[in-house]
């Protein structure tokens, strides 16, 4: 079986497994099958990446040749994202077992089935070469995600899920409207085909409107300021495992799709010309970096704090995109990968704290550094990564982002990046100070260190943060290949 035939199973395995898992009884079995499915999908994605970096892989479904049939089309960019999503899912699942047992005590089958649906949806969005298929998978993953968020034990989770549902639906509708416009003008749904036919109708209002709708729709999914408002509550009140998974994957996939549309379907010399996209994205990115970090500095609820920090980090990625250079896109892809590592590690650490103490108010963490030293140290080390201290993954992406900004002589951006990194120092330091620099008040319960089943995956992620801060061959290589694909021939280019 060659790699092209194997490739679709990266999506199909979780999809099929979800149906099976939904019916499985008990707690261990659903988890085991889910983990197995995610792992298989990650292995396939890992096998696909080197092949896809060389040539664009194409798999026609049901042997209907594209553009008539649905096609999976995988190049360096989406192979990279697919690998990220599926491996993050596997890593999150390692951590999930203990945490989910607490938060979803009974009938875990449906819960894990929903998770697999969300995973399959995200992978489908990433790998498909068909615009309508993107929408379908987006809805699959989104609907599953809404339900997952609603599983949260806090009653506010219901409201958060409802809001997320409304906003997500608006976003998906916008995307659908945009795709429909494009279909109307070009008569095709295959993205590569669409890219070829668009130049003929490029000067029509419908195509411009399509671009605007798609960007706003995906901007919502991406949590780009000011469309981020659903994110803090959804992250804060979802079950910890769901937050860990979403933080590393959902917004990343949305960013990838947005890039796919901006750079491949509409060529950059179109999308950045008819709309002031570079300016709009840059302004929103910088505003996001600031507002996100700023609010995070004052948050008391730590999951919310990290959620706002995510808004800021999305800003960094979009900033890289808005430069419209290879260096900028490389930085964006790098941060996409590295931020997934960082945030997953941070949310795991915080989730572990919540598991032991049942609270993540910053005041309840006072003096916790002595009682849960391993957890809090993991948090602090992952915090170094989000600040961007050298030898961490966070440093690598910020370094490339700064180089990209200097490349276009945008010195003021360098200043802003450094400044917002300083703000990250503040919000991480608040936690460190509470955990180590203050005594544990007498009225707070004494807690013990978390079980190894939570600690080991967390430390694995922390270790990865440092590993990818030192060995950058995989990340930088894949990210620059992805950026080249986006700016280069892309889907319209030669494919077997």
């Amino acid at each position: 079986m060659n790699i092209v035939d194997l490739m679709p199973f990266s999506v199909l395995v979780p999809l099929i497994a979800s149906a099976i898992v939904a019916l499985l009884p008990g707690r261990t079995l659903p988890w085991a099958v889910t983990f197995l499915a995610a792992l298989i999908s990650a292995i396939i994605a890992a096998l696909t990446l080197p092949a896809a970096t060389e040539v664009t892989l194409s798999y026609p479904f049901g042997n209907w040749p594209p553009p008539i049939g649905i096609e999976y089309r995988v190049d360096a960019a989406n192979a990279f994202v697919a690998l990220l999503v599926s491996s993050m899912a596997s890593l999150a699942l390692l951590w999930a077992r203990t945490s989910v047992n607490r938060e979803v005590p009974r009938r875990q089958g449906p819960f894990y089935a929903l998770f697999l649906l969300a995973l399959a949806g995200l992978l489908g969005i990433t790998m498909t070469g068909d615009a309508f298929n993107v929408f379908v998978f987006l809805e699959i993953s989104s609907l599953a995600t809404y339900a997952l968020v609603a599983y949260g034990s806090d009653r506010r989770a219901l409201l958060a899920a409802f809001r997320y549902l409304i906003m997500g639906t608006i976003g998906a509708t916008f995307l659908l409207i945009g795709i429909a416009f494009l279909y109307m003008m070009t008569g095709t749904l295959n993205m590569a085909d669409m890219a070829e036919r668009l130049p003929e109708v490029r000067d029509t209002r419908a195509v411009r409107a399509a671009l605007a709708f798609i960007i706003v729709g995906l901007g919502l999914k991406l949590a780009l300021l000011p469309l981020h408002l659903w994110l803090p509550n959804a992250y804060a009140y979802a079950p910890n495992f769901v937050t860990v998974f979403l933080a590393g994957t959902a917004t990343k996939v949305a960013l990838y799709v947005m890039l796919r549309f901006i750079f491949t379907v509409f060529a950059p010399d179109y999308s950045f010309v008819v709309l002031p996209l570079a300016t709009v994205l840059m302004v929103l990115a910088v505003a996001g970096m600031f507002a996100g970090s700023w609010v995070a500095m004052f948050q008391v609820h730590l999951k919310r704090m990290l959620a706002y920090s995510s808004v800021a980090q999305v800003g960094y990625m979009v900033l890289g995109v808005s430069l419209v250079t290879t260096a900028g896109l490389t930085a964006a892809f790098l941060h996409l990968f590295n931020h997934a590592l960082i945030k997953t590690a941070l949310f795991m650490a915080i989730g572990t704290v919540m598991y032991q103490t049942n609270s993540i108010k910053i005041d309840d963490l006072r003096g916790l550094g002595r009682q849960m030293p391993w957890t809090m140290t993991a948090f602090a080390l992952a915090g170094l990564s989000i600040i961007g201290v050298p030898t961490t993954a966070g440093f690598i992406s910020k370094w490339y982002l700064i180089l990209a900004a200097i490349d276009v002589q945008a010195w003021w951006l360098v200043g802003l990046i450094v400044l917002t990194s300083m703000m990250a120092v503040v919000y991480i330091w608040r936690v460190v100070e509470a955990a180590w620099m203050t005594k544990r008040p007498a009225d707070l319960p004494t807690v013990r260190e978390a079980p190894l089943s939570l600690l080991l995956p967390t430390w694995l992620l922390v270790a990865l943060n440092f590993y990818f801060g030192l060995d950058t061959r995989l990340t930088v290589g894949a990210a620059s290949a992805a950026a080249d694909v986006m700016l280069g021939a892309g889907l319209g280019g030669a494919a077997p």
């Binding site: 809001r163 409107a209 605007a212 509550n233 709309l275 004052f298 008391v300 180089l403 950058t472």
Partner: protein
């Protein structure tokens, strides 16, 4: 066969190992690790080691040449002495921090490129601040915090400078910085902060007196001298440094004369002594650079010795102000003796180490026909002798009996002081090994009759003046912590009256600023805090409105044309 083991690696491993050890095993490790490092230093061969590629940049972890070896040697020596001195302290955090700090300093000195330098530079700050915090008082926590903030700013400046340097030259190699523009100034500024060049010096006199007794030894030895090394490497012959250095020598002395806390006096003298080195770097002649290197070497030893003496006094009596001390020589004779060796060294008495290095810089100034610099450098030792050799010694060890009856310091402290005192004396008597270590060949003999007479005259008349004016020179307890924080513009010779006016003015301004800041902070909190505008959970309707606004504005642009 591995031909290069980075000394820092041993130190970092040692630092990581300490928490796992207990009791005498830990004490053994405290001595074995520095000894191992010293042995490793002895085997270092000139050359470049540990080169690797990182993000397409060529990095060099170990560059061993004559210049770096001067500093590597003295850092290794002082680490061993400091560890002996700190042997009785049962606090692994302090010891780990000290080992890590020394490792970072060695790494910075051995760094062959600017990025590696930056990493170790930051590491030094993060490790050293624990030596201040572990004092455990509120004052030391705040002083440590200020120390951290200032050095964080310095680190950012350095990083910015390095990035711009890389961008303009395409190379990260750390040699003389020859580009103009922002890279030059940013890196220089970062180095100057660590070298405590006024007006960027305030952190030093603020933080060092609040450090732990044993931590102050390492602090006094490593941070500023690493900065001197980087200045020697990157900015030899920059005239601005020569003037700043000469001003530093006097500046530190004047402030020291006014201080009351014994370790604060010593801290100001670091500024003064580093001034000699900075001045030597700025002159940039072969002899001046040699002098700067030699002075860094001797300075580390005698300054550590002085800090150890002062530390022993504080450790045994619990008091650190001149006005509370006095007459201790009867109870702590050995401490007094060793302290005096340090005091004579720093003042540049013939036969002690300061003499053979300090005069080198002074002579370099005269050979370079720089009259004003020469006079400034000549003047400063009088003040140094006055405050360290006479005032501090008199009011602490001699003078009126304070009623304190401390015991002699513990054996390990005495041993450490003894080793340092021996080295100070040995270098003063037989400077040839030190001269052989210097980056350039030395053709200099401090022991000629002219130099000896000049120094002795100066110092003896200072002594005479001290005893004649004894009533006026003592420490005043009225001097509070705040006053050390004033920045002054031109005139440094402030009288107490001016001082008080400035203090009250300063206090008033600070209060006004704090009121404004507080009300601002209150406003920010209410607007952006937990339930502030940005952080609130917005109703779905307004979320949808934002979506509509963004879409409308994009469409407006798209359809308009």
């Amino acid at each position: 066969m591995i031909d290069f083991i980075h000394p820092s690696l041993i130190l970092f491993l040692g630092a990581a190992l300490l928490p796992l050890l207990k009791g005498s095993a830990r004490k053994t490790a405290l001595l074995v690790v520095p000894a191992l490092v010293l042995a490793l230093i002895a085997t270092l061969e000139p050359g470049e080691f540990g080169q690797f590629e990182f993000l397409d940049m060529a990095l060099t972890l170990g560059r061993v040449d004559a210049l770096s070896m001067v500093f590597v040697w003295v850092f290794g020596i002082i680490l061993l002495i400091g560890m002996i001195y700190a042997l009785h302290v049962d606090d692994w955090i302090q010891h780990s921090a000290a080992l890590g700090y020394a490792g970072a300093a060695l790494g910075a000195v051995l760094a062959g490129d600017l990025l590696t330098l930056y990493v170790f530079w930051e590491l030094m700050v993060i490790t050293s601040v624990w030596l201040i915090w572990r004092r455990g008082s509120g004052v030391s926590y705040q002083a440590g915090m200020r120390y951290l903030v200032i050095h964080a700013i310095g680190g950012v400046l350095l990083l910015a400078g390095v990035i711009i340097y890389y961008q303009t030259t395409g190379s990260l190699a750390f040699d003389q910085i020859e580009v103009g523009g922002p890279a030059f100034w940013l890196i220089l500024l970062a180095f100057m902060i660590n070298a405590a060049v006024p007006p960027l010096h305030a952190w030093l006199a603020d933080a060092y007196p609040e450090a732990t007794i044993t931590g102050a030894i390492f602090l006094s030895a490593l941070t500023t001298k690493t900065a001197v090394y980087t200045l020697m490497r990157g900015y030899p012959g920059v005239e601005l440094l020569m003037w700043l250095g000469a001003i530093m020598t006097l500046y530190g002395v004047i402030y020291a004369v006014l201080a009351n806390d014994i370790r604060r006096i010593l801290a100001y003298h670091i500024i003064s002594q580093v001034g000699y080195m900075v001045c030597g770097v700025g002159m940039g002649t072969v002899m001046a650079l040699n002098g700067a290197g030699a002075h860094a070497f001797t300075h580390i030893l005698y300054k550590a010795l002085l800090f150890m003496g002062a530390g022993a006094v504080i450790y045994m009596t619990g008091k650190s102000r001149l006005t509370d001390l006095g007459g201790l020589y009867r109870h702590m004779p050995w401490t007094f003796l060793f302290y005096m060796v340090g005091a004579l060294s720093i003042s540049g008495f013939p036969l002690f180490s300061g003499f053979v290095s300090k005069t080198m810089i002074t002579e370099a100034a005269s050979l370079d026909y720089r009259a004003i610099i020469f006079l400034m450098l000549l003047m400063a030792p009088a003040g140094t002798f006055l405050s360290i050799g006479l005032k501090l010694a008199w009011f602490t060890f001699l003078g009126r009996d304070s009623g304190l009856r401390p015991r002699e310091a513990p054996a390990n402290m005495l041993l450490a002081m003894g080793i340092a005192a021996f080295l100070c004396f040995a270098i003063g008597v037989y400077p040839a090994p030190l001269y052989a270590l210097l980056p350039n060949p030395v053709d200099y003999n401090a022991y000629n009759i002219g130099l000896i007479l000049k120094e002795l005259q100066l110092l003896l008349f200072t002594g005479l003046a001290f005893f004649l004016l004894l009533r006026f020179v003592g420490g005043k307890n009225a001097i509070t912590l705040d006053t050390d924080w004033i920045y002054r513009g031109g005139g440094k010779r402030a009288t107490l009256a001016v001082r008080n006016a400035v203090v009250s003015g300063n206090r008033w301004i600070r209060k006004a600023i704090m009121i404004v800041l507080r009300s601002r902070a209150q406003g920010i909190r209410s607007r952006y805090g937990r339930d502030g505008k940005l952080a609130r959970s917005w109703p779905t309707g307004s979320m949808a409105m934002w979506t509509a606004i963004l879409l409308a504005s994009l469409l407006l642009f798209g359809i308009r044309t």
